[in-house]
């Protein structure tokens, strides 16, 4: 089975990389880009039977730093 974890900086945490991308898009002539947030996608190849709770524990303990990041899990 596979799981995909999306890790994003929490709202309110400054994302300087996202900001730099936003500036670059503006400079390239893409108007109307009002915000860019950059995150990570982590694909996990898991043994059958691995539970969402186990993936959540992986997120809490390693994949995300919950001081600054939030995560979402897609099983499937």
């Amino acid at each position: 089975m596979k799981a995909r974890v999306h890790v994003m900086l929490k709202a309110g945490v400054l994302d300087p990389q996202g900001e730099a991308v936003r500036h670059a898009l503006g400079a390239m002539g893409f108007s109307g880009v009002e915000g860019v947030r950059q995150g990570k996608v982590i694909d996990l190849d898991l043994a059958e039977g691995t539970t969402r709770e186990q993936v959540a524990e992986m997120c809490e303990k390693l994949l995300a730093n919950t001081v600054i990041e939030s995560y979402e899990i897609e099983i499937g």
Binding site: L9, V13, L14, P16, Q17, K61, L63, V67, I68
Partner: protein, 222 residues
């Protein structure tokens, strides 16, 4: 007096830190990250700068889950001293031994230069040989030194005088100009600047010496 310096794959300030401890009178053991125990009788653990595990995932994230760091946590939980510098500070925040996190520098640049720090408290073994408000010159060399914590945590750090050092001229976007913080029991210090690189006249500066010299008082009854 005995110090342990933890070595991760990608640590690159470990030997400099060991020399600074040695010059302050410590006997130093270098401890590989796969070890599960610290040597007996360690008074202070140094977590050095560098790029542990290539900064993969997040700076310090993988190192913080290595076997030796569990032993470092136990050492700190038992009231032991620890000093995390640069990547070492990132490791200590990733373990939760110190609050907050280090984000990418606000200007996105890797910054490598000597900066002025203000000593914000002398109420710690690490900072007691400085004067409160004293400006010291210490090099920084980091890409992810932008200290972040929620407002409540920042208020608590300031209220409890746990901000050890601030930047006189904030180079990286750190909240409240924070360059280094202390744990609740004031025995764990994490800082982005490198005092071990300002510990010998040949480094071009000696403002870090007082920090290591002060640690010599570690044997004083707690």
């Amino acid at each position: 007096m005995r110090a342990a310096v933890i070595v991760f794959p990608g640590s690159n300030c470990d030997r400099d830190l060991a020399v600074a401890f040695e010059n302050a009178g410590f006997r130093v053991s270098m401890v590989w990250h796969k070890e599960t125990d610290l040597p007996d009788g360690i008074d202070i653990v140094g977590v050095p700068g560098g790029f542990s595990f290539g900064d993969y995932l997040r700076c310090g994230a993988i190192a913080a889950r290595s076997p030796i760091v569990r032993a470092v946590q136990a050492h700190c939980d038992a009231g032991g001293y620890a000093l995390g510098i640069c990547n070492g500070f990132q490791v200590l925040t990733e373990t939760g031994l110190l609050p907050g996190a280090l984000l990418r520098n606000a200007n996105l640049k890797y910054i490598c230069r000597t900066v002025a720090l203000r000593v914000e408290t002398t109420d710690s073994l690490f900072t007691r040989d400085y004067g409160r408000g004293q400006l010291i010159q210490v090099p920084i060399a980091h890409h992810d030194g932008n200290y972040h914590a929620d407002d409540e945590t920042l208020a608590r750090l300031e209220g409890e005088a746990r901000v050890a050092f601030t930047y006189a001229d904030n180079p990286n976007g750190s909240a409240r100009d924070i360059a280094g913080i202390l744990s609740e029991n004031r025995r764990v210090l994490g800082m982005m600047p490198h005092p071990e690189r300002a510990a010998d006249a040949r480094h071009g500066g000696t403002d870090g010496v007082a920090l290591f010299r002060a640690l010599g008082g570690i044997l004083a009854p707690a």
